[in-house]
Every structure is written in C-alpha cells, then in structure tokens.
Symmetry: C2
Subunit: 271 residues, 2 copies
C-alpha cells in the first residue's frame, strides 16, 4: 500500500540519517495525536531576540467542510498571539508562522561508550500558518475533537453543549500545515566497531535498552464526584493506552538497530 507523504522542501528536509527520517502522513499525525502536549513556537513582535515556545494541546484532524487536515491547538491563546495572527492575515499572509514539535521517548539506549548512547524516540515537526477559529460551527467541532483527544468520548460524557459564554471565551488556533517531517529511532544498541572489538569493554559494560513509556494510573475521584465507579470511557482508555504504550516501548527495544552510521562519531540524533 502506498502511504501518503508530505512534500519535502528546504524547510522540512531532514538532511542526515535519511533512514530515520519520514514524511509519512500517518506517522506524523499519529505522533502529534499521541502526545498529551506539543511545543509551539513563534516569533514575537516585541524587540526581544527570543522566539517563544508554549506547551499546548495539539490534535490533527479534518473538519468536514475542509479538504485538508489541519492541526488544532488549544491552550492559553494570549491577546498577543491573537494580535500577531490577525496582523499576519492583514499583511496578506496565510496566518502566523508557527513551528509545532511533538516528541515521544520510547527507550534509553545504553551502549558501550557514552558517545553511542541514544534514545528510542518518535518525533514530528510541523511548520504552518495559525489563525484563530472564529466560525462557531468549526470551533464547537474542534472543542469536541480536542476534549476527546485527552480522553476518547469524554465530550459526550460531560456537561455539553458549552454555553454562550464558554464559546466566547474559548480560543482555538487552526494551523494550515505547510510542511511536516518526522523522525524515529528504534532498536537495539549500536556501537562502533572499535569498541565491539574490545574484550575488556564487552566484558564490563552492560548494553541494552530501558523501555520508557507513559503510564495512566488509577482514576482518583475528586472531592465533589458522586459517580461511584469510573465510567467505561475512562477505564477503557486507561487500559488501552497503557497496553499500547508499554508494548511499543518493549517492541522498539528489540528491533534491529538503524543502519550503521556512515561517518565515525556522528550521533543518531538528526536535526
């Protein structure tokens, strides 16, 4: 089956270790949608040289009226961020240029020598243009998508619909995806030949992978909760998530190492 891929350009091309780079749409969307938090960067307008990075909730989905998938972002959308997005539109741009990064660490890869240590990980980076969703139909749809990205079916199992004041106060950023790329490292440790020849090192240094995975714990009822048992949509999500996360990290720990690095000393971490 041919996978859909994002086009490559100067902005998103991963220059090294192409065996680890991917432009696969399913991988990129899956990575963004599997992380509870994405990191969103933009260049502010005040006279400070620093870009801004904000942790936000991000979910890639397609609004039924659109042909393309977009990345919907929820979090504290400051008046500054709103103004920057408006100003970009007024300048005739497609929105505020944003960079969105999502990273999942799947394992600590312990090798013979510090320089070969690595993580098993999945990451995705998206460049796109952000605008504030002002259409109430799309905003309501996006609020449901984002709520259900935290716990599936949570929307229908809470007090809905939002009232007028809640609709008014909610701000959602819609990002038109201009470029996207992903990277993945999975597999067993991968040391340099020079160390694999050393009996003294091989006999002394433990090598392997420590799986890393996010765990959801037992639901802790709050002080005004009256519902005796955690509902099915919560229990099922916890069980499913824990099984998927744990299995992925253990599976990744046993896959073949990525192709050997071409040049001595280069790290597996690409940009």
């Amino acid at each position: 089956m041919a996978h859909e891929t994002y086009p490559t350009s100067k902005v998103n091309q991963v220059k090294r270790y192409n065996h680890q780079a991917t432009y696969d749409v399913e991988f990129i969307h899956g990575t963004v949608n599997s992380t509870p938090v994405v990191h969103v960067s933009f260049v502010p307008d005040f006279k400070e040289p620093f870009p801004v990075v904000l942790p936000m909730i991000g979910e890639i989905a397609r609004f039924p009226d659109d042909e393309q998938h977009h990345c919907y972002l929820h979090g504290y959308v400051s008046s500054r961020l709103m103004r920057l997005a408006d100003e970009a539109l007024n300048r005739g741009e497609e929105g505020l240029p944003l960079c969105i990064a999502a990273t999942i660490v799947d394992g600590l890869v312990l090798t013979l020598t510090p320089n070969s240590h690595n993580y098993n990980y999945r990451s995705a980076v998206i460049h796109g243009y952000g605008t504030i969703v002002d259409n109430d139909k799309e905003k309501l749809w996006a609020m449901e998508v984002i709520t259900n990205s935290v716990v599936p079916d949570r929307w229908a199992n809470s007090r809905i619909p939002p009232d007028a004041a809640e609709m008014q106060s909610t701000r959602i950023l819609k990002v038109k995806i201009a470029a996207a790329s992903g990277k993945v490292r999975e597999g067993v440790p991968n040391d340099e030949k020079k160390d694999l020849k050393r009996e003294d090192v091989l006999n002394k240094v433990w090598t392997g992978v420590i799986p890393v995975y996010e765990t959801l714990g037992e639901p802790q009822p709050g002080p005004y909760n009256r519902v005796k048992e955690p509902p099915e949509h919560v229990e099922e999500y916890i069980a499913h998530t824990n099984e998927v996360n744990e299995r992925y990290s253990y599976d990744a720990a046993h896959k073949p190492a990525p192709e050997k690095r071409k040049k001595y000393g280069e790290s597996d971490d690409g940009e």
Copy 2:
C-alpha cells in the same frame, strides 16, 4: 528558608494566574533536569518565516570554573546552528538567542464540563544565549553531566574517556540563562459554580484525576551484551525514578485545586 528566584522581565513574566507561576530556581532547574527531552527553539537565518524547534537533551548545571548555572544542550548540532551561534558572537552578542521549554504532564483533570478540563503539569521556559563549548575541559565535564542525566553514574560505568575523534565530533551548546519562568498545576478538579449547582450534572459526570507518569521498564539486554545482570546503577535508577514519578502524580491528584479563577471561562493554562 528563602528560595532563590529568577528576576522577572517583559520576556519571562507570566501575566495571568500568578498563583501558578513561579520563578523559583529549584523548581525550574528540577523541571528541566527531570525531562528526558527539552524543546529548543531558534530563529533561523534563511528566508523562511518559521522558527525552528529541536528536541534535545538539556541539563542545567554549574561548571566548577563558572559562577552561574548554565543549560547544557546535546543533540544534533547542525552546521547551521553552529554558524548562527558564531555569527551572533561576531556581532557582539552573547550567543544565539534560544528558547528552551520543558513540560511534564502529571495528570488528566476530568471535570464536569469540557471547558474546565485541565492537566496537572509542571513546565519551565528558559530564554538564553547559546554558544558552542570549545574548551575541552568543559566539554568533557558537560559530556559526563549529560550522560549521567540519562542514567546516573552511567559515565563511570561505560568505556571512558572519549578518544580524540569522539571529543572532536561532539558538539555541546552552553546556554547562558537570561530569563526563566515555571508554571505548575496540581490538585483536584475545579469546576465553575454554575455547574456545581446542577444536581443532574453532578449525578451523571464522573470527576477526578487520572495520574500520568513516565515509567521505566525492565532493562532489555542487547545482542552483544555479555554482562548477565543489569548493573546496580541501572536497577537503582529505574526503581527510584518509577517511585518518584508515580508518587508525584498521585500526590498531585489529591492536592487542593489552585485558587479559583477570577474571571469566568478563563482556562488554567497560562502563557
């Protein structure tokens, strides 16, 4: 005991929900040093409008020759990033302006209504000036700090010291911290009064916190490992990390909610 704090400025001032903002040095350093990955943003020089975000390993530590703590970053330091840092120095700046963000999700806070849903989390954002470490003494020290940030004592338990080629190929970014801030949300759900008055909603919607914590799994020996049992420094780190992470997320789930939000509809997520 008076805690050391970072000064506030226009760059790092958290404008809303000051009860959740912190400039406490211990909190900020602890958050950065507890996350396996930080997200580092900079503004590239090519004629694209997007900032760049890279996942990297970050550790805040004080080199014995320095008076201040710095943030040391390891990952793929591209030739572009090196050039940008050099150019900034040549322009008389202190280094390349960077923004570093670290976020830990500690729980999913499920409330009566979608708008009050939240995360328990800890986050830190640092603005600073990055330069490449070119002093071999400091580079070697930073390599040890970074390796031991992945697994304590790993450096001494692997093949050291790095040889000349490894020293040559390793690039570490040292970030002079110009401003820093942190944010934290912990505690039980916190709904609006209007929903807490509704018997129908209270009787139907489960409210509480799902603890979230990163778990380290059982060490998986690699294909050329000869050391029978995972060493003490690995086993102890796994046991300790799992205990600390799990306990924090459960404790956070039972703390009082942050002070009530002043204005209707505002989210707990600050910028």
